[in-house]
């Protein structure tokens, strides 16, 4: 019988509010084997950990049960604490009475009763725990960054700086991401391209960094320190090594009417294209949806004009397999589609545009070469209405419930820049709140209002209606003046909410990484581990984790890089000791377990056994390689004799938990 200590955490009021922690520790004190039971405000705090350590020493505890938050959160913390006072860390179990109890139950009586049962189950399990020793596994000293926007670029550069190999996988033909489409950046108003493109070039030139552009992840296997990844390098029909990026082909291609995604469809590109002048890699790509040669074998003009002979219409998708020690997710964001927002008339008029489109309209490399002109008639707009929170902070279900964070600032930037360049323009900004926390942000916003005379109006736009004469009627309410406004605008700019890139969800699935209901990746801890996913070895960089502006993104990108470097500098990781083990005396040698093992961890040996009647017998028995076994347990069920069991999750432990949970009352 173990000597068990039970420690019930209040988690401030997170647990204590719906679970009577005193009642839980009192009830669990009565369980067989429990010699000490207490509760404390924050078990994970130093004082809390000391409480546990002291009790282990004072009562000679052989087993510890912590009733607290999810073991995915603090199991490692507590295991480390008990190990520091000499108790085997695997003699500790966590009963999850927060995520799976206090947070989902409102009734204190119900919560308390359930917490006691969960505690009992953990006690029942600990009774059967055995000390386990962790093994070691090597770390592949190479990182993978998924996404080549500013987040991915920064992370990759920082990791490479520390001397580790990094691969960037970018689904578009060039790295750079959303930042390449932005004209100027707040609050300094320096040109986005000027600060981004050198970094892109750095990436291309850094010998530690390899860029897989126009590529996507196909499969991820393995675990922290040893991921095995298949990357699908899409056929771009241009040999990257031969193409010099001269751009000759992109001027000769006869397919001229392909919407140019770089300018958000506001102008056209050819079927063979380089997204923009500073693209990295600066290599042409053929769009197979528009290329005549690829569609019906007629044309071949680009091949003729290519001096380097880089065009290869027969190119196939190529699957590259590579091993990585760590994976960084930097998949970024996109503005939401606005087709559900009829009231803003986005689909009714070309002159109702999104903020990102506005960026392109003011950018020198944009469709208007940087002159602000109405998309419909190319005329200079004199009245511009900016609408904030389009789809953000929206609980109607059409948009997103969260604040997109960046819109207030970029709208201030747009308004300010417009007024500066075109002082004859009337600029209105409709807002719910103006949120400008951040260094020099509020000053920036105030400048827009005070120096540049932008009309900031608190209130929401009710209707945007294009008129036959080209004017756009904006109906809105001014909440402060308490009046209805009717503005005849020439251009309406919508600050569309941002959402995670569509590729994020399937990627999360591949990585077995958590996501929240909005498809943002979940961090391991919102405050303490903001750049790590709960899945070991997966790190988060940039807007894939939540809306972020460039400074935040870059900070997080560097933080993620630091975490990756911390992992890659290790030669070995201690491995999970919860691995399968075969009881040779009961093993039939039937090979069922071997067949279901995904790691090839099971082999067979012929071994001599002394039988009860003093004869010897050579029997074929299974042998598990603990360094290779990952502890899934598939073999344990395949084994008919029950010879195969899993340490840490043994048959008897799981059945003890079942018993404790089902105990009739």
């Amino acid at each position: 019988m173990q000597k068990i200590g039970v420690f019930v955490c209040w988690c401030g009021s997170n647990i204590a509010q719906t679970v009577d922690v005193q009642a839980v520790s009192d009830a669990l004190a009565k369980e067989p084997g429990v010699v000490y039971s207490t509760n404390y405000q924050y078990m994970c705090s130093e004082a809390g950990q000391n409480l546990i350590k002291d009790a282990v020493k004072e009562y000679g505890l052989t087993g510890v049960v912590i009733c607290s938050c999810s073991p995915r959160m603090h199991e490692a913390t507590f295991r480390k604490a008990v190990a520091s006072v000499g108790l085997n860390p695997y003699m500790l179990e966590v009963a999850n009475i927060r995520e799976q109890c206090s947070w989902i139950h409102k009734d204190k009586e119900v919560g308390t009763e359930k917490a006691i049962i969960l505690g009992r189950a953990a006690i029942a399990k600990v009774q059967l725990n055995a000390p386990l020793q962790a093994g070691e596994s090597p770390v592949v000293k190479r990182a993978l960054v998924i996404g080549g926007g500013i987040a991915g670029i920064q992370t990759a550069l920082d990791i490479a700086e520390a001397g580790f190999e990094v691969d960037i996988v970018e689904k578009n033909p060039t790295i750079g991401g959303k930042m390449t489409q932005i004209d100027k950046t707040f609050p300094t108003l320096d040109c986005a391209a000027c600060i981004l493109t050198p970094k892109m070039v750095d990436c291309a030139q850094n010998e530690k960094i390899h860029i897989y552009s126009y590529s996507e992840l196909k499969e991820v296997k393995g675990f922290v320190g040893n991921f095995s990844v298949k990357i699908n390098k899409k056929a771009r029909y241009v040999d990257e090594n031969k193409c010099t990026g001269c751009g000759e082909c992109t001027t000769k291609c006869p397919m001229k009417n392909v919407p140019n995604e770089f300018n958000l469809g506001m102008d056209n590109r050819r079927a063979i294209y380089i997204p923009f002048a500073q693209a990295v890699p600066k290599v042409a790509t053929i769009d197979p949806n528009y290329c005549n040669m690829l569609k019906n074998g007629k044309c071949g003009l680009c091949a003729k004009v290519c001096g380097a002979g880089a065009i290869d219409y027969k190119q196939q998708d190529q699957v590259i397999e590579e091993k990585y020690g760590a994976i960084v997710v930097a998949t970024g964001y996109n503005p939401i589609k606005l087709d559900k927002f009829d009231e803003f008339g986005y689909s009714l008029s070309k002159d109702v545009i999104t903020s990102l489109e506005f960026e392109r309209l003011t950018n020198a490399a944009g469709p208007t070469s940087g002159t602000l002109l109405r998309p419909s008639d190319g005329k200079h707009p004199h009245t511009i209405v900016f609408v904030q929170c389009v789809g953000s902070r929206d609980t109607s279900g059409c948009g997103k419930p969260y604040c997109s964070k960046i819109c207030c600032m970029y709208t201030a930037k747009h308004a300010m820049l417009t007024r500066e360049k075109y002082p004859d323009t009337d600029v209105y900004v409709f807002y719910i709140d103006v949120r400008s926390p951040g260094k020099n942000y509020d000053e920036f916003y105030r400048r827009a209002v005070e120096q540049y005379g932008v009309h900031y109006i608190k209130g929401m736009v009710g209707k945007v209606a294009p008129r036959a004469d080209g004017k756009i009627m904006v109906q809105a309410s001014d909440l402060l003046a308490n009046e209805q406004l009717h503005i005849e605008a020439d251009l309406v700019v919508l600050a569309a909410a941002i959402e995670p890139d569509k590729s994020a969800r399937p990627l999360a699935t591949m990585l077995t990484a958590s996501m929240d209901t909005n498809d943002f990746f979940t961090e391991a801890h919102a405050k303490l581990r903001p750049v790590e996913s709960p899945t070991a070895g997966i790190f988060l960089s940039g807007a894939c984790q939540g809306p972020k502006d460039i400074p935040d993104t870059v900070s997080q990108a560097s933080a993620a890089a630091a975490k990756v470097i911390g992992l890659l500098v290790k030669d070995k990781l201690t491995t999970n000791p919860c691995v399968a083990q075969s009881n040779e005396l009961m093993c039939n040698g039937c090979s069922s377990c071997e067949k279901v093992c995904p790691y090839g961890a099971i082999t067979y040996i012929d071994k001599e056994f002394r039988m009860p009647d003093r004869t010897t017998r050579i029997r074929r028995v299974a042998s598990v390689n603990p360094a290779v076994c990952q502890g899934c347990g598939a073999c344990t069920v395949a084994c008919p004799s029950g010879a195969m069991d899993l340490k840490g999750f043994s048959n008897s432990q799981i059945m003890a938990e079942v018993d404790a949970i089902c105990q009739m009352k």
Partner: protein, 323 residues
Amino acid sequence: MQGMMLNRAKELLSDGTVNRVLGWQAGEFVYDITPAVFETEEELDAGFVYNGFCGNNLSKYLVKETLKDGKILVFLKPCDTYSFNQLLTEHRIDREKICAIGIPCDGKTSGEMLKAKGISGITGISEDADNFVVDTIYGQTTVAKADALEERCKTCKSKKHVAYDELLGEDGEILDSHRFDMVAKLEAMTPDERFAFWREQLSKCIRCNACRNVCPACTCEQCVFDNPKSGIAQKAAADSFEENMFHIIRAFHVAGRCTDCGECSRVCPQNIPLHLLNRKFIKDINELYGDYQAGAEVGTRAPLTNYTQEDVEPSIVYHREGK
């Protein structure tokens, strides 16, 4: 056939090809045949028999016999050869130590089957092509063989030998046996009817373990039900749950490995149709994952240690045809 087998066994014994012969030994009443190992020609002459009552599947004895030195001759009926292959697949027997002779089978019966026809006081039985002629102290009765066959033989899946070193007599064909008819009939019942059916049957269980111990798929060094550390060890079916538990788990442990030899039902002293549980798994496997006959070949991957990405979801159980 008995004569041919006897002669061949003697030849192989005398020329040293084999050291022992695994076959069937005559008993008191014609029908009470015991599997036996014969080491000499004299022993063979004294007791070796092969007739319509030699139902025992001898393949499982090879687990024990191939641990011994020397080579053993075993006679295998078509359905026994499937068990033989399955045991080879699972590395439970040593092929090198076995000389397997395939022998034909017209289906088997048993004393129990005859007694179920109201025959009692049996003093002698003779058989011709179609009939058993049974002498009893109460008179003589003739029973058509087809009527007296064991259930497993009435729905025989194969007269074809899937493994042998030599064959005596003609090899047969794999049959279209309608062996799943009874399973289908049960499936067509309401859950309440099925529950009543199985409760009535399984409540007869006395947990003698005959089904398990005779089963060629149950060759575990120690069965989970005998292992106090397994947490589910049972020595007696103490209540209805344990009756269910034992038979569900046993069927599950042999699922995908059971060749449907029917020994479990043959030996059950309470005549519980245990083979229906195994056949239910076989039928499900065939329907859900494609036809699979355990033991048809050596080395195949059993359905439960295999998968495809397109496998049906467990929810199919809620949506399937029937009640």
